[in-house]
């Protein structure tokens, strides 16, 4: 009679599994990095973003000249060795101000991305997971909010309250920017909650809170990170626009938007005052978007369009 004593069978499976079955261990992030490395544009973008971030951090401790100090040289001076990016209409060192502006842009961008992501993720998770009346209310808010122009809301908040400090700007932009994140997370949650591993989690007595944050959230993390990455440049340009209108961070803080606006009057005879911050802004936005695209493709090749 054909027999296979159980101990023998288990032992044998065991040995075989060690020898042949499991491949090398690759985590999601290693895998993502591996794919990202092959995308040259994304790599250049990543390097540029890291560079801007580094400059922003350095500016908090050191700039060639004090950011706010006027008359460190002749006004409207074009680039020289002492002032590689020239001086502005008040005789301030543009390189120093550009560095300070990088810090403001990054603070607004990352701050807004974080704050609006938290709002969007929590509301999206709740709406997608519990459905029913919770979803109805949140979806209604999302849809109404979606129909109102963001800029209008932010300008009204700033004008009505009259507060223009950085944190307040971040809060004002976040109040409008969470909508897309909430939509995305709600959609992800709706589909993930039907997956069998969520069912399995319920069958082993996992509480709702743990299902949300241990099972659903980590599996939606890829798209969430990509979406958050795109939030950074949109917040930066939002802030630049506010500053351009004179509603952003108050002078003499060197926002790139404000710098562009200030130099506009002297565009004909000192174009560098406007062009340099505009270029910095443009390049940073392009780099952040390319970084987001690269991350999206690397995180999930199937998402590529």
């Amino acid at each position: 009679m054909a027999t296979a004593p159980s101990d023998y069978a288990l032992q044998e499976d065991f040995v075989a599994s060690e020898q042949y079955e499991v491949g090398e261990s690759v985590s999601l992030w290693q895998d993502t990095w591996r794919r990202m490395r092959r995308n040259r544009l994304a790599l250049i973008a990543t390097a540029f973003v890291l560079f801007v971030l580094l400059v922003a951090i350095v500016s908090q401790f050191w700039t060639p000249y004090p950011i706010w100090k006027q008359g460190v040289g002749p006004t409207y001076q074009t680039p020289t060795l002492k002032h590689p990016l020239g001086l502005d209409q008040s005789g301030r060192d543009i390189l120093s101000r550009l560095m300070g502006g990088a810090a403001i842009s990054m603070e607004v961008g990352i701050g807004t991305a974080l704050l609006s992501s938290v709002i969007g993720i929590v509301l999206g998770l709740l709406a997608g997971f519990y459905r029913g009346w919770i979803d109805s209310i949140i979806s209604l808010v999302i849809n109404v909010w979606y129909g109102i122009p963001d800029l209008l809301v932010v300008i009204m908040i700033v004008v009505i309250t009259g507060r223009r400090e950085l944190l307040f700007i971040i809060i004002a932009i976040s109040i409008t920017a969470w909508v897309n994140m909430a939509r995305l997370v709600r959609g992800q949650t709706l589909s993930l909650r039907e997956r069998e591993f969520v069912e399995a989690a319920r069958s082993i007595g996992t509480r709702d809170f743990s299902i949300l944050f241990r099972h659903i959230f980590p599996n939606a993390l890829g798209p969430i990170i990509v979406q958050a990455t795109y939030l950074v440049p949109s917040a930066i340009i939002f802030e630049a626009f506010l500053s351009y209108l004179g509603l952003g961070v108050p002078p003499p803080n060197p926002s790139w938007g404000a710098m562009t606006a200030e130099g506009y009057r002297s565009l004909q005879y000192a174009p560098h005052i406007t062009l340099i911050p505009a270029l910095a802004l443009g390049l940073t936005l392009v780099a952040l978007n390319a970084f987001g695209d690269g991350l999206r493709d690397a995180l999930d090749p199937r998402m590529r369009r």
Partner: protein
């Protein structure tokens, strides 16, 4: 030589105690809510049977018969539309919230798809150990020790405790799913087609593992499958389901040797045997058509549209009840054993 034979016992089975009693369980899913409104899929439509302590009850049927839905309703993953599910005399249907969650320690499920039922972002150790965390049974080193133990029992190398599910093969993933179901020492496990997604040469490993675990931990299984050969191999008793109803329940031996319901008989005759000589002699009873839609099941006996021995009008008008046709062999047919 160890021959592990589990010959069907001759003990009077009626004296065995029911661990799970399912009474008139109904599960309807609403579809296409809106203008048309009110259409429902009658996935499970009034089902009663019991699972006895320590046995394996095989639940078989073709796709769309409602067996997986029934399994999920019993495992309390879908709420029943109506009916009662008694587990050790506690009606699970009335339990809610924390009480139901506590009950899950004794009631576990093994899923069909070992790729979909494991969270891809969690390590194997976290997946298997999660039930311990949920019920605050063990944490840290103690949890790891218990996870190691269960992994070893299930034929997994504990050295892979911090690997991710995608690094494992289908068979190993199913072992992970089994380990997760086992770690709380449950008494009752619903196994929903646990081997049908696996390669042929791997299926036997999992079947044997399930058998070993049952012997060692005195488990009671509800084993859901469409493969009647596997069910025969594993089950003490078998329930056959057709279009949301149980059509026959009996001891495994009775049902395979002497099926009373024409559907069971046709189902059995349809399954090829890996023996060319036997196959040459067998003549399958070919049923007409395919399983009807559970949205509008046929009137009377639901099988009458495909039944080779249906007689009209009785079969198309009167629904035959599931009743004892002698020595505990239950069948729902007006003309049992006549095919």
């Amino acid at each position: 030589m160890t021959t592990e034979q589990r010959v069907v016992s001759d003990v009077d089975t009626s004296k065995q105690i029911a661990l799970v009693r399912i009474e008139e369980v109904v599960k309807h899913f609403p579809i296409g809510a809106g203008l048309l409104g009110g259409q429902v899929v009658k996935a499970v439509d009034g089902v009663s049977f019991e699972v006895r302590g320590g046995e394996t009850l095989g639940l078989v049927g073709e796709s769309g018969c409602g067996k997986s839905t029934l399994g999920r309703v019993i495992a309390q993953l879908h709420p029943a539309t109506s009916g009662h599910i008694y587990f050790k005399d506690i009606d699970l249907v009335t339990l809610k919230g924390e009480k139901l969650r506590r009950m899950r320690q004794q009631l576990q499920m093994i899923f069909q798809d070992p790729y979909a039922s494991l969270n891809p972002r969690m390590t194997v150790g976290d997946i298997i150990g999660e039930p311990l965390t949920n019920f605050h049974i063990a944490r840290g080193k103690a949890r790891e020790k218990r996870v190691n133990e269960v992994m070893r029992i299930c034929g997994l190398n504990p050295g892979f405790i911090s690997r991710y599910p995608h690094e494992f093969s289908g068979g190993q993933r199913q072992r992970i799913g089994i380990a997760r179901a086992l770690i709380l020492n449950p008494t009752f496990i619903v196994a929903d087609e646990p081997i049908s997604a696996l390669d042929v040469s791997i299926q036997a490993q999992i079947v044997n593992l399930l058998e070993d675990l049952q012997d060692e931990f005195k488990l009671t299984y509800l084993f859901i499958a469409h493969d009647l050969s596997v069910v025969r191999h594993l089950s003490d008793r078998v329930a056959v389901m057709y279009l949301g109803k149980i059509v026959e329940v009996a001891d495994s031996k009775q049902i395979y040797d002497n099926p009373l319901h024409p559907y069971t008989k046709a189902l059995l005759s349809s399954i090829p045997i890996p023996d060319p000589d036997l196959e040459a002699e067998r003549e399958p009873i070919l049923l007409k058509g395919e399983i009807p839609s559970p949205v509008n099941p046929p009137t009377g006996c639901r099988f009458h549209t495909r039944c080779p021995i249906a007689q009209f009008p009785i079969c198309s008008e009167q629904e035959p009840p599931l009743e004892d046709k002698g020595s505990g062999h239950q069948a729902a047919c007006h003309f049992p054993g006549q095919l």
